[in-house]
Structures are given as structure tokens and as C-alpha cells.
Amino acid sequence: MIYKSLKLCVLFLFFSLIQISTVSAEADLASGKALFKAKCASCHNKDMRSDLTGPALGGVEERWEGRDEVLAAWIRNSQAVIASGDKYANELYVKWNKSQMTAFPELSDADIESLLGYIDGKWKGTYDTPKKEEGAAGGTTEKKNNLPLYGLIAFVLAALAIVLARIISNLNHMIAVKGGASDAVRPGLFESIGGKSFVSFLLFGLVIWGGYTTVNNAIGLGRQQGYAPEQPIKFSHATHAGAQKIDCQYCHDGARRSKHSVIPAANTCMNCHKAVKNGSQYGTAEISKIYASVGYDPTSDTYIENYDQMPQDSIKRVYQEWFKSQYLKEKSLEKLDRVGEDLVETQWSDIVTSLTGPQKKKIGGPIEWVRIHNLPDHVYFNHAQHVTVGKVNCENCHGKVEEMEVVGQYSPLSMGWCINCHRETEVQFQDNEYYNSFKIYHDEIKKGDRTKVTVEEIGGLECQKCHY
């Protein structure tokens, strides 16, 4: 009885395997591609659009006006067709300076059919990517169905394992009984599969799974896409870059000439904020932090002398006076009310918490912004290369900053992300004399064999472009 069930299992397994192997048996355009590569690609351009040693093959069937047998004969032996006096064949022969096409007598009708199919598909763009290739190959969309299949295999294997385990334990039991052990008890299902090997197998599986998960998660360590920390000053890019349309490089003036885009110095802020003293969102609260950083007295419109030696109480007086006057002006009051007093107090304490820290005791001095884009130390990135030379727009990497109230990291800043962009981005090749040294590419562009040069093609994926 045991053996019977085993047989059944094996049969079942066999059939399911056969089923898997037949799924991708049919092939026609794929073999056409293989044939094209093997036989045609040395003379005919694989884009089917431009000429090489031989003419572009796109639309070849139309050109032969559907005379498929003649075309097939031409492919097998063009000279024979020319000798037969075919008009189009002779014209073609003369047009291409009487260069002979290699004969391929070994090609079968099916071969030629699939070859022409591939050429047509490639030309019309229906045969573009490997994904479409699978689709065009007429097979099933097996990728989506993989999971149940694996589940099935797993189930079958598990069943097999249990069956085998049962067999072994039963045989052991039989030996024990034959050996005269009268007290032998036939082991139960769980006892028979709970052996050492099973546990170690389970452990092995766990380790593999654990390692896989760990690696996958470790890759993400240190990446902080979407990181949008609170800054010491609630600076709004939406207001400055969005509503006011200030150019990015007005403040980030390093981007065009340095590796760093540079966070602007407080005196850059003062260019405008000497005049703009009340913000649209936070009133005096946030802009006063700039004043407190550089030591500017907005009441008298002067920079405070010896500000770095000024005691905190005096600084407090200056800015509280300013908050008070602004509040009174806004509310048209003569004297501070309770709300006003609170406001003056909170705005001051906000300045203190924003501009001081464990390392920095003084209010005056640089504003310690929280750095959002952190590349590892072994990565070299240069803004000037991308902004000035590559003419990459800021938003390509930083997103729509002009819509961000609080700026966050838009891109993953992972190596894969960098590499991908280098693969796709076109080099500003034509109007920059520097690239003259790439003679081959220039020649190819001139001949029309090439329309663009990507960063990858001038070495943009090489390690020491970014790591040194």
C-alpha cells in the first residue's frame, strides 16, 4: 500500500515537470532574432532603419511586393535570382555597387519566415523589448503564474519527503519487530519527520531566508529617501522658490562652480531680509532668527557692533523689543496684552532653541541646518559637473522643491539610481569643444550612425568617476 502511494506521487511529479518544460517550447520570432544575429547582422543594421554594408531590412517584404518565394530564393542565393533576370533584384544589385550578398542555402522556409517576422516586428517596433519578445513568442504569461507553480512543487516535494520519512520509520519499525523487540511501537507521523536531518534542513532554510532578508534590508541602510527633518528655521522653499520665484542658484551659488551646492550664508539672506522683515507665514518669528544669527537690529536697521561679545540678556532685549513693536503695530495696540506677552516670550525662546545647541552656546554665529542629502564619504559628487557641464535641471534630483514647505530628500541617492541616470542621460556633446577628443563618436554622428552619446558611453559607469 505504501508503495502504491509512492508510485502515485512520482507519477504526479513527473507530469507536472513535463508540463513546465512544454510551456516555452514554441519559438518563432526568437529564433528569427537568433538567425538574424548569426547570419545577417554583420552586414545589415539591427535597427532595421539605417543602411550598413547592406541595406536596411525594414519593410523588405513590402519592397519585394509580397513575392515571398522570390525573396526566399534571394536570401538563399541572391546571384541566382539576379541571373534569372528579376528586375528588382538587378536594380538592387546595381544600386549597391554590385556587392554580393552571402548565400544561405541552408535556411528552411520556416527559418526564413521567422526571420522575416522578426525583421518586421523589429522595424514596426512591436518587437522592442525582451518582455514583448516573450509576449510575441506566443507563450503564456508564465511569470505571473510562477508562484502557484512553485507552491505546487513545494507541496509535492513536501509530500514526497513525508512519504519517504514514513517509509523509513516503518521499515525501522519492521526491523525492530523482527528483531524481537516486543515493546516496539510504530512511530507516529510527527515522530517520523522530527529527526535531526529535518531540523537541520529547516535551520538551513531559515538561514538562507534570514540572509536574504538581511541583505535586502542592509542595502537600504543609510538611505534616507523622503527624509524631511525639521530645520532650525522654518524656511519655506514653497515661498521663496515657488511664490517668489527666486532662482535656485541665487542662494545655492556653489552649484554651478563647486562640488557643493552650498547652503547660503546668513548674509545672503540679509540681501532681501533687510527689507522683508515680516514673513507671510510666521511673521517676525523665523526671520528674526537670521537677525539673531548675524547680529542685526531690525528696529534701528543696523548691524550690532561687537555682537559676538554681547551678553545674552542684551540680545534678548533687542529682539523682544522688536517683537513687541511689531505686535503692537500689527494689532494697533498701545500696550502689550497677555497674548502679546506670550508671543514675545515664545518667539524669543524659539530663537534660543533654534540657534543654540550642545556644541554651540552662543546665539550669534552660523545657523546649524540639518543636512538632508548625505552621501557616504567614499562617494565624490560634483554639482558643477552636473549643473554647468551636464545642464541637468535641479528638479531632476531634488524634485519640485518649489512646492515643498519642508524640504525632503526626493531621490534615493542610491548607486543604482546614479548609474541608471548615467545610462540614460545624453552628454551635451555637440557644442562643447572638450568632447572633440571623442573622435569615433563624432565620426559616427557625422555618418548618421549615431544620434546621441550617453554618459555611460564616455565612461560614466566607471568606478573612479565617483569613488577615489
Binding site: G254, W369, V370, E433
Partner: protein
């Protein structure tokens, strides 16, 4: 065997096929002397067991989990409050300035990033140093961040130091300095005209003050001789570029003597060969007793004992006089070989006439007068040396400091101000100085580091480093150079000149100004230079250029030396069995640079030893197949052990480490000056042996840098950690077969036939006369190599055509004939690329990290060999053996021909280093850069409290564009890829073709002789392409088809058979 032209060797071990060495070469990573270590440290006896392993594993997992669970630290981005207009964060600024330390001078450009100096380059506008540098100049940027710097003002009472502020100092000095008090200001040579003006104001305010100038490595006798002969107490201007025959009697003018950068640049002009069919080069004859760097570059060396130097000069004088028709003088007898050699040399000199030049490092007045007389006889004055534009780089008189010692001894000195000098260390009678100094009532040190002298002072006043200072220099008459600060003072220090002016209560110093001395210098220059329309624009231009040159003539009269009187004054040969020559060491100098670890770690070019001064002892061929060394020292030193001997001179006996050295006179020893500092900071303390007490003073009061009647014991012990790199990373050499004269590859005999590896093409040499034979032979041989390489199955042409033929392809050319081995490039490379310092122990274990080493090979006559220096760095092979073996593709090739090393991908298998035929890959065995989490991995290089480089002050020198490597990764020369990328970006941004000047590697810019040229080989008009096209170019080990990108040119010597005979 005496003269084997085809043989090149490093030392005795490879010449004699020492099995130890062969075994060592066999292994890429030399077996570490673990047995030695274990016997020293019992703690290591217990090996790690399984439980330990599990413990560490558990800890590791726990730590990783914790690290993963923690939030990433918040990083801050802190902008300026008010951004200076000139600074763009991320972009380097260069400021023209001058490196000045005593008489050492170099016009420099200082590279600063975000306001801190990180690299020093030469200023090519200067016609003195011509854009070259040397090791000391390159390393000066690290001394700015020396942890031993004086960080303010202190009063010192015994061991106790009390900090003072400037107001207290000025007040205290006001009380102590009186108009009548006797004040001595003790300094080394001062090059600055403005500083001299300030000293003038000080001596005017205190009429009893006197400035005492001396130089630890003195040219005192030359100054006196020139005063006697020409009435001008200066060092003349030497024009080595005009000299066709140079005879140097003990002057190490390419390494240390007076103005080596200038001399090396001039010298190399006549040593290069552009076209071998019309080859001409100068002949350089060095008369010396030990092998100096200059001697190693010479064509012929005439060996004498140190005490024979005077006799050699007198003999040379007589030989020249005999040919030129002068009267002879009484000359003491000299060894027969030297006599013959000098006769031939004299003939060359007289034939060269005014294109001859004789120089001498002698510090004996009589000898220097005779040198002047010889130059005068051949008519050299006005051509190869002159008094117009005379050098001011040595101004100190030995008699001055000796006089000062006597005066202090008498107790009549009220105040002594020691400014930038260290007489308590660098005088032959430093102990006498210290005793006399103690009698001075008020002792003040104006110093930027604590040294032996400031330790004796009552007040230590911190002064600026030159990179924080304003100032000027006049290294040669009329050649002015400005010093400008490149960083705000790091500590509470002041400019020394300003301190003196304040104490002198000068009216010309505007003490209310932000930078009083800046205004003072500016005002001083108004008087100093003339002929400008507006001073403002003149000043701005000069400050930009860094130099202002208006060569001045000289008031020197014609030669009027008393030759026969001089002959009587020369040092006479002494009949002593053993004599010793003391030489200024290339890197440490007089001892000033001892606390600079870069300079400690750069090998001495000749002995190839680091971290200490070794006694060099002669090695000679014994006539058969072996080499005998003095007392058998180091005859088997492949495994880097030194032998200790006890050396006694004048009753002072010291245990010193000794190594054998080729090319030394029998009965002569050599030893470097400047080591053995005691009060110098953690890095340099106790390194090497102090030789100053062994120097003597002659009848004229001049220091003599040799000693006779030296007693040396038999070997008394073994220095376990001799840090000598001569057999590190050796590439395998040709040697001679045991028992015959047959030239073979040294590892061929043991390792059996190596295929094409035998007959390795590492070094190519030729005599000038034979170029017509050797160069065509080289071309033919290269053609054969090319043929063999073409037989490869590797599809190299495919890469060549598709990848390397467009864009850039970087290449380098090293002219072995121009390279003097000065090692400036090595230090420049360390500074540019954040190459870590590893310390003596690690160097001993073959773990030095330098990306660029300078291999030194001897060739020719075993007893008096010629030398070739070969800078060796990653050759960026286009068919690189290292790339194929990396399991993780951490090293691979770029389309620009760079052999890329990606640290973050490297897992440390070291296969690449194992497979590199040039041995240029370096592995971070320990956490040398102190970037690691675990302090146990950080080496201490000289028993410091915290590892070198862990200090935030020291870390300021790091180049922010280069990754600081951590433990467990391989690193190597990157062709300064950061500079390549920067240069390309500049060209791209300016939308123009890349020019040769856009990309210059650190080694290239450092080189005083332009021996190294880097550039784009794909550009046929680049300098490097033109040089590679020369028939004298070859590539090292090119026959194995690894397609290196670095090219060398054949070393040519102009050795005269007549001088040898």
C-alpha cells in the same frame, strides 16, 4: 666581476643570492616575525579558541544589530555667517607664499580648502626654485598641524609651565628689558629683509642688544673665505646649468647643500638627453668618502677619507695649476687612486675652462679659499658662479655662536632671546651652551614647537608657523619673495617679528591694527622695491605672484686670496684606522623636522632606511664571489635586521644601528645628522642617535662634520626592527650565478626557469659614449618584445581600437636621467592622497603605505658603483594582471586607461597585490588612518598617547577630495585621479580642449627637475607623447604584455675611464 655593466643590484643579499632574500621575494606578503613578537609579549601566548570565536561572533552580531537599530546620526550643514568673497566651499584656493625655515627656502603655492592649507606646491614663477620643491617643503604643511606646537605663552619654572596672556607677557618683558641690559638674540639665518629691519629697530631700542646668527649645518668657512678672497661675505650664485664639468668635494648640492632645489633644477638641464645621436651632458665628479645623494648621481666618484678632504682640494689645486700655468702649493699626500683620479678630473676641468665648476661643502676656511682659487684659475667666476644675485641662504658664522657661549658663560648676559633656533641641540658643544645659557638671567624662547632649547627657557612665547605669517624673504640678492598667511592663527600665538617690535616699542608698528605686521611688511616694501607707478598695484601683483625679482649686482672685488696661507690652514690627513663623515640627512635636516612623521617615514634615498639614522659601513667585493662588510655588519640583512655596534668618539660611546653601504671609502663610516632629538614631541622623540656631540670645532671656530680615531666594537646585538625598505617590494633582479660570473635572474636559480621573466627589463643604463650602440639595441629589443606581445590570444587590439583610441588615455614618462632621487614626489604623494603614516614597527614589517617609492639600484663597478633611482608607482597597465584576479572586481580598468581601485568594493583578498609584477599595491593591515570603531586596530607609531592621525589637529591636513581608507583594503597610486577629474571639469566648464597643464599629478608638480611628466597619450601634442616617442624610452617588464602606461627613459652616465683608472 669588478665592472659588470649589465648588472644592477640593490644590496649584498641580491648580489650573493642570499637564500633568505630569495625566500622572501617568493612571498608577496613577507612572513611576519611572530616568534619575536611572542617572546616579547607573553600576553599573546594564549591562542584564540573556539569559545573566543563564539564570543566575538556574538559580539559582532549584537553590535551589528544595535548599529542597525539605531537612528542615523543627524548631520549638520553649517554655512558661513558672512561668506568671504574669495572662498567657494568645495573649490581650492591657491596662495603664493614662501617656505622659509632658517636658510631653507622655496617659493610655493599653498593650496587651501575652506580656509585650511592642505598641500604645498612649487611656484613656477620663481627663477630661484623654478616651481620645484623638496621633501621638507612638501611636508611643511603637516608641521602647521604639529601637536607639539606652542599654543600660547608660558612662563616656565623647572618642569612647571604656567600659561600667560599677551598683556602679561608684554608687561613682564617691559619690566625685564632695560635700555642698558645686554641682550642676545640667537637665530639661524634670517632671509627676511623686513625681519632684519625689525631686528634693527630692536637693537636701536636696546643699544646693548646683539643678534647672533649661526647655522646648525654651517657654511661659515665659505662665507669667511669669500670675504677674504672677494671682500663679500656671501655664498655665491652657482649656475649648474652652465657647468660642463662639475667637481664637488663633499658638497651634497642635490640634497641638502644651501639651495638644493635650485641646484637640482639647474643641474638636470645638462643631464637630460633629448636626442641620443647628438647627446651631450655635463660630467659630474664627486670627491667624497661616503655615498651621498649627490655622489650617487655623479658620473665618477673619487673616494677619499674625510680627513683627506683638504689634501684632495690642495692636490686638485696643484693639478689644475700645473695645467693652467699657476704656481703649486704644498699639498699633503693622498691615497693613490684619488691622486690619479684628481689628475684626470683636473684635466677635464681645465678643458672645460669657464664651463667648469668646483664646489665644496668643507667648513674649513683654507679649503674654501683653495676652491675659490681653482674656480678663479679656470675662469669660472662670471660664468658658472658669480656674486651678482649671490645667495643669502647661509649667513651664520660659527664663531658668532661660540662667542655668544663664552659671553653667556661669563654671566654678563641679562637676556637671551632664542628665535627659531635650537642651539641646545644642534651645536657640537650643546652641553656647553646649555651650561652657559643657564647663567643668563632672563631666557626667552620665541618658538613654534617645544624643543631642547625652549625647555631651558623661563618664557616660552608661541609664534606663528610660516603658513600663518606675513613676511618676506630674500634668498638671493635682489630676488624677493613674499610670505602671506593662508589660515587664521590656530593658537594664541603672535608673529615673532611683531613681538620684538612691540617689545622695542616701535613707532612703525601700528598695534591698533588687526594685522600690525602686515602693515609693517607693506611699509617696508615701499622702501625696498622701486620703479612702480602705484605701490598699491605693485603690491597686489607681487602678492599674487609671490615673488619680485630685481637681481642686484655685486660689489665683490677680483680674487685676492692668499693661496699659500690657505694651504697651511687646510685640515691635514690623519693616520687613523677609522674615520666617520657626518652628513645632513635629506629629510630631518639639522633635526628641525624630526617631529614630522612624513619626513621620518620617507626612506633615505641612499640607505633606504626610515625612522632613524644608521651608521653606514663600507662593503667591498672580496675578489671572488662574496662581499665583505666592515665587521661583518649586515652581510645578511634581507630580513631587515640591523646590527648594533658600540661606537666611541672623543670618549662618548653610543650603541648605534649599522647597515652596510656600497661605494664607501675603506676605513670610513657615515652617519646622518639631526636624529636623536629628545624634546621634540611624541612623534620624533628618541628616534635615532644624536651625533652633534661627536662633531668638532677647528682652530678657526668652525664646526667640522667628520671625526677621526673612531672606535667601533664588534656586533653587540641585533636591531630587531630596522625599518629599511631596500628589499621591500622588490621586483626580482639580475644577479650573478654562484661560482661563476654568469649574469642571471636572482630567483631563476631557485625557482627554476621563469620563461620571459628572465632578462627582466627593469633598469636600462648606458654610458654616454656608447649611446650609439645601446639605444639601437634597446629599440631592437623592444621591437622583439612587441613581436612577442603581439602573439597574444588576448584581444588587446579590440580594446585599443574601440575604447582607448578616443577620449583620454593617461600616461606618464619618468626621465631617469633627470631624477635625482630626492623623494619630493614621495612626500607630495603622501600629502595629496592621504597616505597614512605607519611608524617604524610597521615599516619593518613591510607595511609601509607609500604609493610612490623610489627604488635605488647600483650598477657598474661593485666597489665604486653608479646609481640609478627609479620612481615606481602603479603602472596602470592596460592589460593588468591585478585586475584579472580580483574576485569582486574592485580593481578594474577605465576607458581612460586608469587602473581603478575601488576601496568600498575591496574585500581584502590581496590577490591583486600578489599578482602585481611591480609590487606597488599596498594593503591596510591595520587602521592606520584611525577611521575605525575599534581602537585596538590602531597602531601607535612612536608610543604616542593617541595614535598619530587620530588627533583632530593632525586630521586638518587631509585632502577632502580623497577617501580616507580604512583597515582591510588595498590601495595604490591612482594617477591622482582627483586631479584628473578636476582638470577635465575645468576644461569642460570652459568648453575647450583639455590642455597639458589642466592635469598635473602631485609627484609631477613636486619634482624640482621635471623628471616626471604626466598627460594624455592620445593627444599627440602633449609633452608626455613627445617624450614617449624618444628612442630612449622603455617600459619596465614590458615583455610580459601587460601594457604599462608608465614609461621610463634610459639612465645615461658620463663616466670617465680616465678618472677610474
Amino acid at each position: 666581476m669588478k665592472n659588470q655593466k649589465n648588472e644592477a643590484w640593490v644590496g649584498i643579499s641580491d648580489k650573493t643570492n642570499d637564500p633568505d632574500l630569495i625566500a622572501q621575494i617568493d612571498k608577496e606578503f613577507v612572513e611576519l616575525p611572530i616568534v619575536d613578537t611572542l617572546s616579547d609579549e607573553a600576553a599573546i601566548e594564549t591562542p584564540a579558541n573556539r569559545r573566543d570565536f563564539l564570543k566575538y561572533l556574538g559580539f559582532g552580531l549584537g553590535a551589528a544589530t544595535m548599529a542597525a537599530g539605531c537612528d542615523a546620526p543627524i548631520r549638520r550643514a553649517i554655512p558661513y555667517v558672512t561668506k568671504p568673497d574669495t572662498i567657494v566651499p568645495g573649490v581650492a584656493n591657491y596662495y603664493a607664499s614662501s617656505f622659509v625655515d632658517g636658510g631653507d627656502y622655496c617659493a610655493v603655492l599653498v593650496k587651501t580648502r575652506e580656509g585650511r592649507p592642505i598641500k604645498i606646491e612649487g611656484n613656477s614663477l620663481s627663477s630661484v626654485t623654478k616651481g620645484g620643491t623638496n621633501t621638507r617643503t612638501q611636508a611643511a604643511v603637516l608641521s602647521l598641524y604639529d601637536t607639539n606646537r606652542v599654543k600660547g605663552c608660558y612662563s616656565q619654572n623647572g618642569e612647571e609651565m604656567t600659561a600667560m596672556n599677551w598683556a602679561e607677557v608684554d608687561k613682564a618683558m617691559g619690566a625685564k628689558l632695560n635700555a642698558g641690559s645686554r641682550i642676545l638674540i640667537i637665530t639661524n639665518t634670517i632671509l627676511s629683509p623686513t625681519a632684519k629691519k625689525a631686528l634693527g629697530e630692536f637693537t636701536a631700542a636696546y643699544p646693548n642688544a646683539k643678534v647672533v646668527t649661526y647655522d646648525p649645518i654651517s657654511s661659515s668657512a665659505m662665507l669667511e673665505a669669500n670675504k677674504e678672497c672677494f671682500g663679500d661675505q656671501v655664498v655665491p650664485a652657482y649656475h649648474f646649468d652652465k657647468a660642463k664639468v662639475i667637481v664637488s668635494v663633499g658638497a651634497d648640492f642635490l640634497a641638502t647643500w644651501i639651495s638644493p632645489i635650485e641646484y637640482a633644477a639647474d643641474y638636470s638641464k645638462n643631464r637630460r638627453i633629448a636626442d641620443y645621436t647628438k647627446a651631450k651632458m655635463s660630467r659630474h665628479i664627486q670627491v667624497e668618502s661616503m655615498m651621498s645623494l649627490t655622489g650617487s648621481n655623479a658620473d665618477n666618484r673619487i673616494l677619499i677619507k674625510p680627513s683627506e678632504q683638504g689634501a684632495a682640494i690642495a692636490n686638485l689645486y696643484n693639478e689644475v695649476a700645473a695645467l693652467a700655468g699657476g704656481s703649486s702649493i704644498s699639498a699633503p699626500a693622498i691615497n693613490a687612486d684619488a691622486k690619479k683620479g684628481l689628475k684626470a678630473a683636473a684635466k677635464d676641468l681645465v678643458n672645460a675652462g669657464s664651463a667648469g665648476l668646483v664646489v665644496s661643502g668643507s667648513n674649513n676656511v683654507g679649503e674654501q679659499v683653495l676652491i675659490n682659487a681653482i674656480n678663479n684659475m679656470i675662469g669660472a667666476y662670471g660664468n658658472t658662479l658669480s656674486f651678482s644675485g649671490a645667495s643669502l641662504q647661509r649667513q651664520g658664522l660659527d664663531s658668532a655662536i661660540q662667542g655668544a657661549i663664552s659671553e653667556m658663560q661669563s654671566g654678563s648676559v641679562d637676556t637671551a632671546i632664542v628665535w627659531g633656533a635650537n642651539p641646545a641641540f644642534d651645536l657640537p658643544n650643546a652641553d656647553k651652551f646649555a651650561a652657559a645659557f643657564a647663567k643668563v638671567k632672563n631666557k626667552i624662547a620665541l618658538a613654534y614647537t617645544i624643543d631642547e632649547t625652549s625647555a631651558l627657557c623661563d618664557h616660552i612665547i608661541g609664534v606663528h608657523h610660516f603658513l600663518e605669517s606675513w613676511g618676506d624673504a630674500e634668498p638671493k640678492r635682489g630676488y624677493y619673495s613674499l610670505i602671506q598667511p593662508t589660515i587664521a592663527p590656530l593658537f594664541e600665538t603672535r608673529q615673532a617679528e611683531e613681538i620684538l617690535l612691540r617689545w622695542a616699542k616701535s613707532n612703525n608698528l601700528n598695534t591698533n591694527s588687526d594685522q600690525p605686521y602686515y602693515e609693517y611688511v607693506k611699509n617696508s616694501w615701499k622702501g625696498l622695491a622701486g620703479g612702480f607707478a602705484s605701490f598699491g598695484s605693485f603690491w597686489d601683483n607681487t602678492l599674487h605672484d609671490g615673488i619680485y625679482e630685481a637681481p642686484k649686482g655685486s660689489s665683490a672685488s677680483g680674487f685676492s686670496g692668499n693661496v699659500s696661507g690657505a694651504a697651511a690652514k687646510i685640515n691635514k690627513p690623519v693616520n687613523s684606522e677609522l674615520e666617520i663623515e657626518f652628513f645632513e640627512s635629506l629629510n630631518i635636516g639639522s633635526g628641525k623636522y624630526a617631529n614630522n612623521p612624513w619626513l621620518q617615514e620617507v626612506p633615505d634615498p641612499v640607505t633606504r632606511c626610515t625612522w632613524g639614522n644608521q651608521l653606514t659601513v663600507p662593503t667591498h667585493w672580496n675578489g671572488s664571489n662574496d662581499y665583505e662588510t666592515f665587521r661583518g655588519i649586515g652581510s645578511r640583512n634581507a630580513k631587515s635586521h640591523g646590527d648594533y655596534v658600540n661606537m666611541g668618539i672623543k670618549g662618548r660611546e653610543e650603541k648605534v644601528s649599522a647597515v652596510p653601504q656600497f661605494g664607501m671609502m675603506r676605513g670610513t663610516l657615515g652617519m646622518g645628522i639631526g636624529y636623536g632629538r629628545e624634546v621634540v614631541g611624541e612623534c620624533g622623540a628618541g628616534i635615532g642617535t644624536n651625533v652633534y656631540p661627536w662633531l668638532s670645532i677647528d682652530a678657526n671656530g668652525n664646526t667640522q662634520y667628520y671625526a677621526t680615531n673612531v672606535e667601533v666594537s664588534q656586533i653587540v646585538g641585533r636591531e630587531k626592527e630596522l625599518a629599511c625598505v631596500q628589499y621591500h617590494h622588490t621586483m626580482g633582479l639580475t644577479g650573478s650565478k654562484t661560482g661563476s660570473d654568469e649574469v642571471i635572474n636572482v630567483d631563476e636559480e631557485i625557482l627554476a626557469f621563469q620563461g620571459s621573466l628572465t632578462d627582466r627589463s627593469i633598469i636600462r643604463t648606458s654610458n654616454l659614449d656608447e649611446l650609439n650602440k645601446t639605444v639601437p639595441a634597446l629599440v631592437k629589443e623592444r621591437g622583439h618584445h612587441q613581436y612577442l606581445n603581439d602573439q597574444t590570444l588576448y584581444p588587446f587590439d579590440e580594446y585599443s581600437e574601440k575604447l582607448y583610441s578616443q577620449g583620454h588615455h593617461w600616461g606618464m614618462h619618468v626621465d631617469l636621467n633627470a631624477c635625482t632621487g630626492c623623494a619630493a614626489c614621495t612626500v607630495a604623494c603622501m600629502a595629496e592622497n592621504n597616505v597614512p603614516v605607519v611608524g617604524k614597527t610597521e615599516v619593518h614589517r613591510h607595511h609601509e603605505m607609500s604609493w610612490l617609492r623610489i627604488d635605488r639600484y647600483f650598477y657598474g663597478d661593485a666597489n665604486n658603483p653608479n646609481t640609478v633611482y627609479q620612481p615606481m608607482m602603479c603602472q596602470h597597465c592596460d592589460n593588468a594582471p591585478c585586475e584579472n584576479v580580483c574576485p569582486v572586481a574592485a580593481t578594474n580598468h577605465s576607458s581612460e586607461g586608469l587602473n581603478q581601485m575601488t576601496y568600498n568594493r575591496c574585500i581584502g583578498t590581496r590577490y591583486c597585490a600578489n599578482n602585481c609584477p611591480y609590487k606597488v599595491r599596498r594593503f591596510n593591515w591595520l587602521d592606520y588612518t584611525t577611521a575605525d570603531l575599534f581602537p585596538g586596530n590602531q597602531p601607535h607609531i612612536n608610543d604616542e598617547k593617541i595614535p598619530f592621525g587620530a588627533d583632530n589637529l593632525t586630521r586638518m591636513v587631509l585632502n577632502p577630495d580623497v577617501t580616507v581608507r580604512s583597515r582591510g583594503v588595498i590601495e595604490k597610486c591612482s594617477f591622482c585621479v582627483q586631479r584628473i577629474q578636476e582638470g577635465k571639469l575645468t576644461a569642460k566648464a570652459e568648453r575647450r580642449n583639455l590642455a597639458d597643464n589642466d592635469v598635473r599629478t602631485a609627484c609631477q608638480t613636486a619634482c624640482p627637475t621635471q623628471a616626471i611628466i604626466f598627460g594624455d597619450v592620445n593627444n599627440p601634442n602633449s609633452e608626455v607623447s613627445k617624450r614617449i616617442a624618444s628612442d630612449m624610452t622603455y617600459q619596465v617588464i614590458e615583455e610580459v604584455n601587460i601594457q604599462p602606461s608608465v614609461n621610463y627613459s634610459m639612465k645615461v652616465n658620463n663616466r670617465s675611464e680616465l678618472i677610474d683608472a
